[in-house]
Amino acid sequence: MVNYGGDEVSALVVDIGSSSVRVGYAGDDTPKAVIPSSYGYFNNPPGGDVSMENGNSGEPKSAYSQIFIGQNGPSTWRAGMEIGNPLQDGLIHDFDSARSLVEHALGDVMRVNASEHPILVTEPPWNTPANRERMAEIMFEEMKAPAFYIANTGVLNAFAAGKGSALVIDIGQSMASVTPVVDGFVLRKGLATSSIPRLVHSHAHHFLSNPTQTRHAIDLYPHQLIANRLPVDPGAPPRFTLREDRLAGVTQSWKAWYEAREVDEWIQSVGGVLEQGWNDQVAASRPPRQYEFPTGYNNYFGHDRFAVCEQYFFQKPHFVQSNATAPKTIPSLILEAFRTCDPELRQVLMGNVVLTGGSSLLNGFSERLASELSRSFSHVKIHAPGNPTERRYGGWLGGSILASLGTFHQLWISREEWQEHGTAIVGQRCK
């Protein structure tokens, strides 16, 4: 047990991201429960007084009369159901629903009692002190956890890669960040973030839902709204019938959610990045990929599947000029992070680049990053796990490693300490 430094105290690791909440036991290699961060809710109870009473009596804190979480939460059609997400720019802004998500993952999926396990929660590097104190409060006061720790995803991603010092490039669903980590500490001055994944997403959405020279606009209806459909040839107009009965009950937020999901699936399936920088001929010479939407419409996407994702690395100058607040591309994020770093550190960081986050799984992404970096730096070494689970849940995995180390157990904030010092202990302990 002492040989490998591990000592498992059955701690729980909770990693809340924009797309999913990951919960599992420390020491495991994959989270036990992965639930979507989005949830469905009813603002005004459709059933009248009865559910109103239920809502008020059962969950006095919740603003919603009913909340639907988990695999059957947002993805199930319910008349008048709204969709919410507790995260905004990677930060939790709605702690009530975040707590509901964690409670669901712990109680309903993992079936554990939070009061029996120390809990390690992750936070993005740009988290605010108020946020982490609120999280500690929830864990101690509402979940009754015996011990708590909040760790930075940048550091945890470096740990998941087995590194103490690293330049962590984390590209999630809504935020991309470049974090220099030295000896297990984030260099806050070097932290660079942007919402480039959302920009790419909106570009893809715009591309799909608008007609081009060769095709009409694509309907982004989800399968929940389609009664039946017939197979059609690639490029031919789809033949499907909608479930008119359900259409009326579709709210604006649920529509946005399902369209976003369809667009995400399209990006994940066909999207790609050219390894050696943008080149029209190379993009045209790559084999097009077929993709079929729930409506039955299918087509081959060649040039465009690269053009959309090229936004991660290059934006047209006139676009940047017209949008002063345009999110920065990945190379400019890296440069920004480097500018503030000590010149001696740069070599160390370049030799320990960790690429993580679900959006970095795009075809050719790590190769492109390598070619971009080697253009301006010598001796670049990129650690990009080939295993998609490790890449997507890198933060959770690092937390799992950290919380199962024997030497870590002196760092937990215990309930006793919390009661003695209050919120100040969080900032002191979790540096």
Binding site: D183, F185, L187, D342, P343, H409, Q410, S414
Partner: protein
Amino acid sequence: MAASASDIRSALSIPSQSQNPAQTPVQSKKLQAQSSRKPDGISRELYSLIGPSAPSLAAQLAKPKLKQKPNLGSRSVVKWEWRSFTNGARKDKLQLGHWTKAATDVNTDYPFAKYGVQSTPYIYTDEEYTQYLQDSEWTKEETDFLFNVVREFDTRWYVIYDRYDFQGGPARSMEDLKDRYYSACRKLIRNRPWSGDEASKSSLLASFHFDKEREITRKKYVTSLENRTPDQVAEEEALYIEVKRLEQSERKFKKDREDLLRVLSGVESGLPDVLEDESPFNNLPTIDTKKKRKGLSSGFLPTDVDSPTSASNVIALDPPIVRKPRDPKSIAYDAQHCIIRTDLPPNVQATKAAHHPAFMRSFKLPYPKAALAPRINQIFAELGINNTRLVMPTRDNCARLEGLMESISALVESKKVLDKLEYDIQVAKKRLGMRNSEDREGGSGGGKGKGVGIGSAMDVDEGDVDADADADAEEESVRDGRAQSIVSTKSARSRRPTRRSMSISSVDTNATASARASNKRKFRN
């Protein structure tokens, strides 16, 4: 089975039991009982053939056993239990639980507690601060803040610099922070009473040494190194590779030179490697013995060999060379046996480098000068002499070949000079002709026109030496081919088979050529 048993019996010339019918059933039963008790490892058929007189091999024919199964069951099951523990490194009483072997002692300390090592930070009192640590650029509050941050992050300077934000203080660089911290620590160490010896104090002081200016310059260098353009980096790399290449070729050259030296003076003469010359003590005995052996075997007189050194004379340096005046007897002996001695020049020390190993005379045949080699070789070819290999390379022959080579090169050289002179004359004449009247020029120009017409780029050497050439036309007719080839080798111009005037045009050359011819005749004889 009974049949086979009888076979064996007959084979082993045991009297058949069947002749005694009364005993038969009992005997056969016995036999059967015996045969059934066959040892392990022998097949039943084989045993029935050879019977109980099994060879001693049977012991080795034992049935092969499988690898022994690992004994898993016998070990007692280790019992684990969920136990809550407290961590000694924590100040509170947090109870965490983990699985441990039930056999371990409940009261042992948490094994990981010992890794929670805290560094001992330097703390100063107010009095110490006012006495030693006053600094115009730092307030006490900021110094306190700095020491706190340093303690908090265990002197991880990158992190300290990142998290350092003293409210109201000026912006500090990492060097500022380091300088302040280390200089304060040095002052504290110096001024506090020291219990240990001076050496440990000075080593501790040295560990807190920090040179701010030097550090800043170093960082600047690092930055400038990073700001190189790709071209500069490429150039640097190219230069580096070039240097490496030069070094390598230098090494190779040295090695080749050494090899060459070894070949010239070492191995062929039976001497050890030249490289080992530096250590004469090791080499001397072997050299001497080899020399002696060689001298004896090749029939040299012992007197001719350098004064022999005994094997015990190991440490002695090279003995002084004593050249005995050669007595008439040995001269006669040499003459009789055709021995020619090449003595070293008297001023040269008889070292190994100066030593002439034995060589084949034919190896030392003269070579033509590289610039003239093709022409000379051609002449040799025309003479029918192989100048690289003599059939009988006696001393005389070699000397004559050498003489021949010399005269041929003299010939070619003089031909070259002649050509040049003729060309000069030609040019001068042309100039003269241009000045003279046109009609006089016309006549001679027509005669020349042919020659120029054929070899358009041809030099002017031919036409104008007609007079000379006519004079020795008779000789030319004999040596035409040869002479012509001289000209043709002289330059790579177009060849003209029968151009009378082209051939050797001076009496000199022909004279030499005729001398060659006579030489050639001699060689053939």
